[in-house]
Point group: C2
Chain length 347, copies 2
């Protein structure tokens, strides 16, 4: 059995909200997916944003100092950016101390535990504030069995990190529910866990147990129940492919939806690596996913068209659907293309 520290599985309702979203000194929008995810899927909990000098990324929420946020009702500062490696740079510490001094708790989905940073530990203790880490896997994960589980499962997979796998899974789970289907969103990363109130941070699990964690994430269910599972990374990613493969094997998906961002040509943070094509990504996921679920199939493609205007996006979705022979939609834009994607996933 694994000797993880005791689990601190927190439902999102137990996290102290509303939140002030912290963007650090980030200049790369791809790293701010936690802040964007909370803004878009839990807007009632987000009261504003706070940045270090030099940051260029913004959520579009009003900019507040910690003191202003407290006056407006905020109860915690949520670290809304995830650097590669999940560490907390020196440059953030002054801002985090300011938040604690102003009366905010700190909520983090980083790998590093907030309490291991002595400045934060001491400041939090001095001001009676809490340091809350959500990137903490449960203590009871076993090695994957590979046994097929009842219930239906959909996994979002990607050509790269940070291009829409969580959004797509959230949107599909919501759409399934709206069609009267019993469905759950299953969060595999820190932002999804903050939104859903539960889940397993796959990338923080010891690697021998990673596929077992994925099995635990979408347990036995009724035959017509759907788990819509948030994907991680990419099978082509030079650092994270092992996480993606463990999640694919353990999820045993009946359906995969391939997520891609048109125009993303180089792997985020690894510019020596080209982003694979949608077709190659789909083929490899079907090839490897077939090991634990021989019935795996493609439900369609999700494109993040946030960098296109509405008509450009519509043309691209249509032409990609013609080219690939699958439903192709942008869940953020919705519309008929997305309805077709939902229908094809459930077919």
């Amino acid at each position: 059995m694994l000797q993880h520290p005791p689990a601190r599985q927190r439902a999102v309702d137990t996290l102290p909200g509303p939140y002030l979203l912290f963007l650090g000194d980030t200049t790369e929008p791809g790293y701010a997916k936690t802040a964007y995810g909370l803004r878009d899927w839990a807007p009632e909990r987000c009261i504003g944003e706070f940045r270090c000098e030099g940051a260029t990324v913004t959520t579009g929420l009003r900019v507040l100092t910690p003191a202003q946020a407290v006056a407006a009702g905020a109860r915690s500062l949520v670290i809304g950016v995830a650097n590669p490696g999940g560490h907390i740079p020196e440059a953030w510490l002054d801002s985090l101390v300011l938040a604690l001094e102003a009366g905010l708790d700190i909520v983090s989905g980083m790998h590093v535990r907030l309490g291991t940073i002595s400045l934060l530990r001491n400041t939090a203790a001095g001001f009676g504030r809490s340091l809350i880490d959500v990137r903490q896997p449960p203590a009871s994960i076993k090695v994957a069995s590979g046994h097929r589980r009842p219930g239906k499962r959909l996994l979002t997979v990607g050509t790269d990190c940070a291009l829409g796998k969580k959004y797509t899974a959230l949107a599909l789970a919501r759409a399934f529910t709206q069609r009267g289907i019993d469905a759950d969103f299953r969060a595999s990363g820190q932002t999804g866990i903050m939104i859903a109130g539960g889940g397993i941070p796959m990338d923080a699990v010891v690697s021998d147990f990673a596929a077992g964690a994925a099995e635990l994430l979408s347990p036995d269910a009724a035959p017509d129940h759907w788990d819509v599972i948030e994907g991680q990374g990419s099978l082509f990613h030079p650092a994270y492919a092992g996480v993606s493969l463990a999640l694919l094997h353990g999820s045993q998906p009946d359906v995969v939806v391939v997520c891609h961002q048109p125009g993303r040509e180089r792997v985020l943070g690894h510019p020596a690596y080209a982003v694979p094509s949608i077709e190659d990504t789909l083929a490899l996921n079907l090839q490897l996913g077939g090991r634990t679920n021989p019935g795996i199939r493609c439900g369609g493609v999700s494109l993040n068209t946030s960098q296109l205007d509405a008509s450009g996006a519509e043309r691209l979705l249509a032409s990609e659907s013609d080219r690939l022979g699958y439903a192709v939609a942008d869940p953020v834009r919705g519309g008929q293309a997305f309805e077709r994607l939902v229908t094809d996933c459930l077919a």
Copy 2:
């Protein structure tokens, strides 16, 4: 940065030897690879074996009680079996307590830390004995960069767990050295670490850092230096494929050698899964390994023919070499076939 507990990287010379090898209550020889590995690659450190009632696995070394082993000079009991999940069954505890009482330290490569088991912790404290965990990754692992590193690398890959990847890597590293080539064996599992005196237990690394750990395991080297890296698991394994892929990506091997045990038809511990063919295993490793080293090639095939007699093994090695078009050898048997494998790996 990762918050692993402080590293306790021990050179094997600092482990208290000679060892009494503990086989638990094991009846599955495949689980006793630690004991077999130490017997075969560090025989001068192995003084005998000790088993629970009901065990059927043996190393062939003389059977000693802990008290007899102490009288014969043993200084520690090494847990020589690795169950799936790396836990310590209740049934072993009486034997382990007996060893501590007799004056032996305990050395473990299991996932669970010995000191987390209160009976062992208290008994060790009471008798002034040490509990030593070698399955502990270093504290400073980073996310993989994917940057190509100078030096040459060979990775042993497999159709399943526990069928010869470590043996093959040890034998190839020794053969390279005997041919005057500057080569190092790089251990990725607990037994290899006990034999080599260093390495990284890949399966104990947090999954986000697994490929980074593999990069750390075979660092920058001189252009004509060879790292011969011990493989883990299989890309087809329903529980461990993610570990195998992270090790493949991070190792960036120039050469892979496919390891297989003829007659192994079902995945060890996962009988619902067929063992893949040598050809499929090779093809998938070349396909996925090409992502971080496009020059990856096959050096040949290593067969574990321990269940055949000498003439049967020779015939099989020859016919498999004809069939596959690669050098095929059993490193334990050596001979001309193995010399050809060595030559082809270096070609």
